[in-house]
């Protein structure tokens, strides 16, 4: 048997303090950009929002004036929200699917720090991408409409509000996707749940008795989105109570925070 030698002189000095959110955010930033699914999802997001916006506005460019051309320009956001949701889901579900999460938790055992760092990266990227996308979508769509009766000026009342809040909406949906997957861990189940919450639930509720529609509709993410990326609420909301765009976004932020907090709590309770 070897004898116990003198204490090893470690070659790396240990810094003071402890590993925390700052380190976790830089590591999660690296992880976010070093898998292919990130660029695929972002390309899908780009094509869906801008492409659909062009297609939808092209028809308008020769016709009579529309009440809310912004809604036509932003029609792609209804699809784009799925791409960013999937991106949010995969950001953590892929770690569970591949076993990577065990490596992650071995270098940062505090679950809340891992979830917090992922939320900061996902929220930050979602916000920047969302804002860039919403401005690009607007200017591209508006270029298609230029000279037509439906043309909207950048400075027209409400336009800037739509541009800023649409980006914010996408960022929040990315966080909701992340939150769902933090709880469910499974990619397919999380994507299905996200799609269910955004699409299926909306259809389901609209087929319900009036009192349910009145009570629930305004809380559904897709309906909040309908008010966010438009100058005015769609006609079908005329008889249904809706949140103002800003209140709607606050509701979505509450969803995201609750889901992420619940996921973080469950992670520290469950075996990995």
């Amino acid at each position: 048997m070897s004898t116990v030698t003198a204490e090893h002189q470690w070659t790396i000095d240990e810094p003071s303090g402890r590993a925390g959110l700052r380190q976790a955010v830089s590591a999660e930033w690296t992880k976010f950009w070093s898998v292919r699914s990130t660029s695929w999802s972002l390309i899908a997001l780009l094509l869906a929002t801008i492409g659909l916006g062009i297609l939808s506005t092209h028809a308008l460019s020769t016709g009579p004036a529309t009440i809310d051309p912004i809604r036509r320009i932003f029609v792609g956001f209804n699809l784009g929200q799925f791409a960013i949701g999937v991106l949010g889901v995969l950001y953590i579900s892929a770690e569970y699917g591949t076993g990577q999460i065990r490596s992650t938790l071995s270098v940062m055992p505090r679950r809340s720090v891992v979830v917090g760092a992922k939320a900061i990266v996902m929220g930050g990227v979602g916000l920047v991408v969302g804002e860039v996308l919403s401005f690009v979508t607007f200017f591209v769509g508006d270029a298609v409409l230029s000279g037509s009766a439906s043309h909207v000026a950048f400075g027209a009342p409400g336009v800037l509000r739509v541009l800023i809040e649409s980006g914010l909406y996408l960022a929040l949906l990315g966080l909701i996707g992340l939150g769902i997957a933090t709880i469910l861990h499974n990619s397919a189940g999380s994507i299905a749940t996200f799609a269910g919450a955004v699409l299926v639930l909306t259809l389901l509720v609209s087929a319900m008795p009036t009192f349910i529609i009145h009570a629930v509709s305004r809380f559904l993410p897709a309906n909040i989105g309908q008010t966010v990326f438009a100058l005015s609420a769609p006609p079908r909301f005329a008889t249904i109570p809706v949140f103002s765009p800003l209140t709607g976004l606050i509701v979505l932020a509450v969803y995201a925070v609750v889901l992420l907090a619940a996921g973080s709590f469950l992670m520290s309770r469950r075996d990995t």
């Binding site: 240990e14 590993a19 591949t98």
Partner: protein, 300 residues
């Protein structure tokens, strides 16, 4: 160092780890030995804070895992082969782990070089062979220059050269004063690598002793002896209270006497000794110890 105290883990009706108490000391290689399914990986996961103990506790460097200030600088672990996203390059994977603990980027290439993966640093991990994956896991364990190294079945999937490399690495890590704890279901490999053994079966502690003692325990009970005149020696050995069986091939199976006595008696008799080998192998001792605790047994 690692201290397990009454560590237990229940999955439904199955008690996967049952009241384990053991210590793992720095400066030597401690082998964690047990058949497949005996609870080694679950114990490792509890040390790492990945699984929660049903009862009991385990401390590493005097702390619970989540209390470590810079986990990767204090504990390096190779978990089951692939705890890695296959879409990332080896370098990105290690760099993200390093960032979590403020470890400089230069260290990533240092460990990649040490495990021989520097030439494939930018290759996606999904394209790696099992052996390369194991080396990458070992690289991750070494990233933070940790005081404690945990390796769960590190030689799985490695070629003979890789196995030897891992053995040498473990010994040198221990010689540097680190605590090295490695699990395996391969007794022979453990006998070559480890100084100390923690043996479990069906989640229960079976033995905790130095390898040398384990070896002494398990050999010397029985010898195969080939000599020029077996019948003559047989009579003498039986006269010395040995139990002797004459095999069909003319060799003797002797128990109850040590090798020295057998050799001396042969010399005094003037017979030539062609072979004098201990029969009980380490594998046999291991099987004997854990035999009643193997959960899934094949029929032969």
């Amino acid at each position: 160092m690692i201290e397990a105290r009454g560590l237990s883990k229940r999955f439904g009706d199955v008690l996967a780890v049952d009241d384990l108490t053991f210590d793992v000391q720095p400066g030597r290689v401690t082998g964690f030995l047990g058949p497949n399914g005996s609870g080694k990986s679950t114990t490792m996961a509890m040390i790492m804070g990945l699984d929660h103990a049903t009862s009991g506790s385990v401390k590493i460097l005097g702390k619970q895992y989540h209390e470590l200030r810079w986990p990767l600088r204090e504990v390096g672990a190779l978990l089951e082969a692939r705890a890695i996203h296959p879409g990332r390059s080896a370098r990105s994977h290690l760099w993200s782990l390093a960032q979590y603990n403020s470890i400089p980027k230069t260290r990533v290439d240092e460990v990649l070089d040490r495990v021989g993966l520097i030439d494939v640093a930018n290759k996606r991990v999904g394209k790696f062979s099992l052996g390369m994956g194991q080396r990458l896991g070992i690289a991750a364990a070494l990233l933070g220059d940790p005081a404690v190294v945990l390796l769960d079945e590190p030689v799985n999937g490695l070629d003979p050269e890789g196995i030897r490399w891992t053995r040498t690495l473990c010994k040198s890590l221990a010689a540097e004063g680190r605590t090295v704890f490695l699990s395996s279901h391969l007794m022979a490999e453990m006998a070559l690598t480890a100084d100390q053994l923690v043996v479990i079966g069906k989640g229960r502690l079976i033995a905790e002793m130095p390898v040398a003692e384990f070896v002494a325990h398990s050999t010397g009970n029985s010898y195969r002896v080939r000599v020029s005149s077996p019948e003559a020696l047989m009579t003498v050995l039986e006269g010395a209270n040995g139990e002797v069986v004459l095999s069909a091939d003319g060799s003797l199976l002797v128990s109850g006497l040590d090798a020295k006595t057998i050799g001396d008696l042969a010399l005094s008799l003037g017979v030539a000794v062609y072979e004098l080998t201990a029969q009980a192998s380490l594998e046999d001792a291991f099987m004997e110890m854990t035999g009643s605790s193997v959960e899934y047994r094949g029929v032969s």
